[in-house]
């Protein structure tokens, strides 16, 4: 068993754990737990990143790992937890479906992800055999979270999960995107957050609520 193979197996295992965390996010009933799980997932991702950096010996990936650890592992969950406490919503995940159905759908989605990538799409890349299906799973599950959960905060969780999927993908398959694109993406993320913030602020002012379920006046 070569070392490369060992690393790749390690990455596989870690990726699966990432996926498992998202599953637990879907199962959780408390918002607080969800945020903690997100943090955990980010730490794992950062670990994977570090591993990839180690294996590929590309320096700037370490940097990415650090940033991920800091931003996604601590900052974002902290902000979310802060917001949760601040707007004092009831600490419950409200879903349109029952937990059982949620899990069933999630499993189906995972199966689909694996199904569509079979047989081994990324066979040339030893590091990322399973990361493609897992990344697709994460993206789909993230969107599923956005759809099935009523709370606005859970929509943010969904987006972050999708982001994590993308991140896993870039890191494990292509060692990140070209610098210019990365920078652009960060810039977009930043501006996007600002703009969403502005809009949320205005919506809160106009509607007296931030509950997205109430935003359904425009029909037909």
């Amino acid at each position: 068993m070569s070392t490369g193979n060992m690393y790749s197996q390690l990455i596989d295992v870690l990726s699966f754990v990432t996926l498992a965390i998202t599953f637990s996010v879907i199962c959780s009933r408390r918002l607080r737990n969800v945020f903690i799980l997100l943090s955990l997932q980010a730490i794992l991702l950062s670990g994977i990143t570090g591993l990839v950096a180690f294996v590929s010996n590309i320096k700037h990936i370490y940097f990415a790992a650090a940033i991920t650890l800091f931003v996604k592992g601590f900052l974002v969950p902290a902000v979310l937890l802060y917001t949760l406490r601040k707007i004092s919503v009831i600490n419950r995940v409200e879903s349109f479906f029952s937990t059982r159905l949620n899990i069933v759908i999630a499993i189906i989605l995972m199966i689909i992800s694996f199904y569509v990538t079979e047989p081994d799409l990324l066979s040339q890349n030893p590091l990322a055999r399973n990361s493609l299906p897992i990344a697709i799973s994460l993206v789909l599950l993230g969107l599923f979270i956005m759809i099935s959960r009523k709370k606005a905060l859970m929509q943010v969780v969904g987006i972050i999960t999708m982001e994590n999927g993308l991140y896993l993908m870039t890191v494990s398959t292509t060692y990140g995107m070209p610098l210019l694109v990365e920078l652009g993406m960060f810039f977009d993320l930043l501006v996007g957050v600002i703009i969403m913030g502005i809009l949320a602020y205005r919506i809160n002012k106009t509607f007296d609520t931030i509950n997205t379920a109430k935003l359904n006046n425009l029909k037909g």
Binding site: Y115, V116, A213, G220
Partner: protein, 675 residues
């Protein structure tokens, strides 16, 4: 070739410039309408000359006008079929343009100028529709014709009814056009060309199904425009609300362009390969003719009556096309030529007398400001010329000798007989005779309808103030009607002129023509002759005139000189008041009863008594005809469509979760299916 090309350009340019000038000079409506209609008159003269040249010389005129993109160009080809239709249109436009000069005084405003401009555009579009030689050009001008006529229809757009009629019109015609699009594209697929010239006789090379699809689509597509039942519903709505000179052109010629299309596709392109096409068209035509006239008969609105009558006439034309196809399929080219002549001659005749009648209706409208027959009466004394012309129109459309309608009716019945005698299938023979009976029945109903239309409009005592105060219309309007009336008589007495014009067309399509000799005797003495019999209209006319004088002389000789005293009409001792006269409703009541399955009449009588049942008070009477096709065909379809649309609209629920789930589901489905 050079002359005809120049004539073509001259005509197009004249009409177009006239319209443009009319728009520019819209401040002075008198000048601008004058320019517009003189231009259309002159342009039509050029077109008429062109048509005659092409028909006489047999030289096709081909012009390449312009090219938009590699697949979209506009070519002109005037062959005998086009030339015949050009002739039909130009004859109509000639009289209608003159008529419009006076008629537009109704619209004494800026509107009149635009009306003139749009009218010219409409005329132009019609000319181009029958001459364009490629798919893009045809669809282009075809749609322009629809749109422009829509704007003409809704001239009085302040009335809700008018807007509704216009809308139904444009929607129906547009939906019909879709079928035309499809059939041309299918032809393109199989020929690789968009030029009509390359479609010629392509039919036999196509698969059976393709041919049948093209046939069905052309029937639906052009049938909508022509107004075959049950696609006719726009026609009795749109034609009455349009200004009368426009209704005259729409009813008289625009719906004929659909016949042109049908002939092009069925005969020229497909070279009719199947007998069942002919049978289908024959049956649809007969049905259309019969039901159309039944509706016309009970109509109170003069223009609506005329519109329904147009439906009937389209049915007759279609029936003769059907006969042509059947006969041609069985190899009786000579007989097919008779049937085709019947149809085409009827087309020409109908365009003339329907113009005349609509112009007459317009004149009545101009003088009385009403279209309701029940509010007219006694106009023959107030508007003698209009009455005379309308009478001629009514007689022509009722197929009475010696007017032109009779000739085509005669030919039609003859061709049906020929069909009944010649084809080898007994069932088909039976159909022929049945159709003959139904068409004869319709013919009698037409006479009844026009006795009603003329009698109640022009005769007896005025039933309303407006009718009593009516005055004769301006000379230009009378001139327009007069021209058409003359055509009616001339073509009725000397139908050879019409056959002569038609012979290149029938020859092109069937390989035979009705009469090909020339000479004075032919013109005057050969009316029409088929294998079964013949008529000489000039002789009939002559005998009629002689016998009228004979009657005068006979009465004078036998009875001596007598005096005539004027007195009141006898009404059992009462004084005659308009209320006592027979109304339109009363006149058509027997028909309403007999055709109640078709018409579904609904009558309500409410008596309100003052003292007791024997002392009557006010009696209210309401009667209306249920529009069967709309109630039982269009409305349910429409409702179904709207209801399902409303269901579909629920997908836009406003919930962002739902929206995201659409994306989600789409993605998942794609991922699964694309594997």
């Amino acid at each position: 070739m050079i002359i005809s090309e120049n004539l073509f350009y001259a005509s197009i340019l004249t009409i177009f410039t006239g319209g443009l000038l009319s728009c520019l000079l819209s401040r002075n409506f008198k000048v601008s309408t004058f320019i517009a209609h003189i231009a259309s008159f002159a342009g039509s003269l050029f077109m008429l000359a062109l048509a005659v040249i092409v028909l006489r010389e047999g030289d096709n005129l081909a012009i390449s006008l312009f090219k938009v993109t590699p697949w979209a160009s506009l070519n002109i080809l005037v062959d005998s079929i086009s030339a015949f239709f050009l002739l039909v249109i130009s004859l109509s436009v000639l009289s209608v343009s003159i008529y419009s000069l006076g008629y537009l005084k109704e619209y004494q405003s800026k509107k009149a100028a635009f009306l003139g401009a749009v009218f010219n555009l409409f005329v132009l579009a019609m000319y181009l529709v029958v001459t364009v030689d490629n798919v893009f050009g045809f669809l282009l001008v075809w749609e322009i014709m629809s749109v422009v006529s829509y704007f003409l229809v809704i001239t009085n757009h302040r009335e809700e009814r008018v807007r509704r009629a216009g809308f139904i019109y444009i929607v129906m015609t547009h939906l019909g056009t879709v079928f035309i699009f499809v059939l041309f594209f299918i032809l393109y697929r199989h020929t690789g060309s968009l030029n009509f010239s390359d479609f010629q006789s392509v039919g036999p090379n196509l698969a059976k199904n393709v041919q049948n699809v093209i046939f069905i689509f052309s029937l639906i597509g052009f049938g909508t425009k022509a107004g075959i039942m049950p696609l006719h519903i726009w026609l009795p709505k749109a034609h009455p609300v349009a200004p009368s000179h426009v209704s005259a052109l729409m009813s008289g010629v625009m719906i004929k362009t659909a016949i042109y299309g049908l002939i092009r596709v069925l005969f020229d392109f497909l070279a009719v390969s199947y007998t069942w096409w002919g049978i289908t068209i024959l049956l649809i035509g007969t049905f259309t003719a019969f039901v159309g006239i039944v509706y016309a008969l009970v109509e109170r609105d003069l223009k609506k009556l005329l519109a329904y009558s147009s439906v009937e006439n389209i049915g007759i034309i279609l029936a003769s096309l059907g006969i042509t196809i059947i006969l041609k399929r069985y190899g009786y080219g000579e007989y097919a030529a008779i049937a085709l002549t019947a149809g085409m001659f009827h087309l020409l005749n109908h365009s003339i007398f329907k113009n005349l009648l609509f112009m007459g209706a317009g004149a009545v409208l101009y003088a009385t400001h009403t279209k309701n027959i029940d509010l007219m009466g006694g106009l023959i004394k107030r508007m003698p010329w209009t009455a005379l012309f309308f009478l001629i129109g009514a007689m022509s459309i009722s197929a009475l000798p010696p007017f032109n309608g009779f000739i085509s009716e005669w030919l039609l019945l003859q061709s049906l007989l020929v069909l009944g005698i010649s084809v080898p299938l007994t069932s088909l023979k039976l159909v022929a005779f049945l159709v003959a009976a139904v068409l004869a029945f319709s013919g009698a109903l037409v006479a009844a309808a026009f006795v009603k239309a003329f009698g109640l409009t022009f005769l007896a005592v005025p039933r309303s103030q407006q009718a009593a105060e009516a005055k004769e219309v301006p000379a230009s309007m009378l001139a327009g009607m007069g021209i058409s009336a003359c055509f009616c008589l001339v073509l009725g007495v000397l139908p050879y002129l019409g056959f002569k014009v038609l012979s290149p067309v029938t020859f092109k399509i069937t390989g035979y023509s009705m009469s090909t000799q020339r000479g004075l005797t032919d013109i005057f003495m050969t009316g029409a002759r088929t294998g079964l019999g013949g008529i000489t209209p000039l002789a009939v006319m002559g005998f009629l005139v002689i016998l009228i004088f004979a009657a005068l002389i006979l009465a004078r000789v036998l009875g001596g000189k007598t005096k005539t005293r004027i007195s009141e009409t006898w009404t059992c001792g009462e004084t005659l008041s308009p209320e006592m006269e027979y109304t339109s409703t009363g006149f058509s009541h027997p028909f309403e009863v007999v055709f109640k399955t078709i018409l579904m009449p609904h009558r309500v009588k409410e008596n309100s008594f003052i003292v007791a049942p024997y002392f009557g008070g006010i009696i209210k009477f309401k009667s209306n005809i249920k529009p069967g096709f709309e109630t039982y065909l269009y409305k349910p379809l429409m409702d179904l469509f709207l209801r399902s649309s409303n269901q579909v609209r629920k997908i836009q629920s406003g919930s962002i979760h739902t929206y995201l789930s659409y994306i989600f589901v789409t993605l998942v489905i794609l991922l699964i299916f694309a594997k």
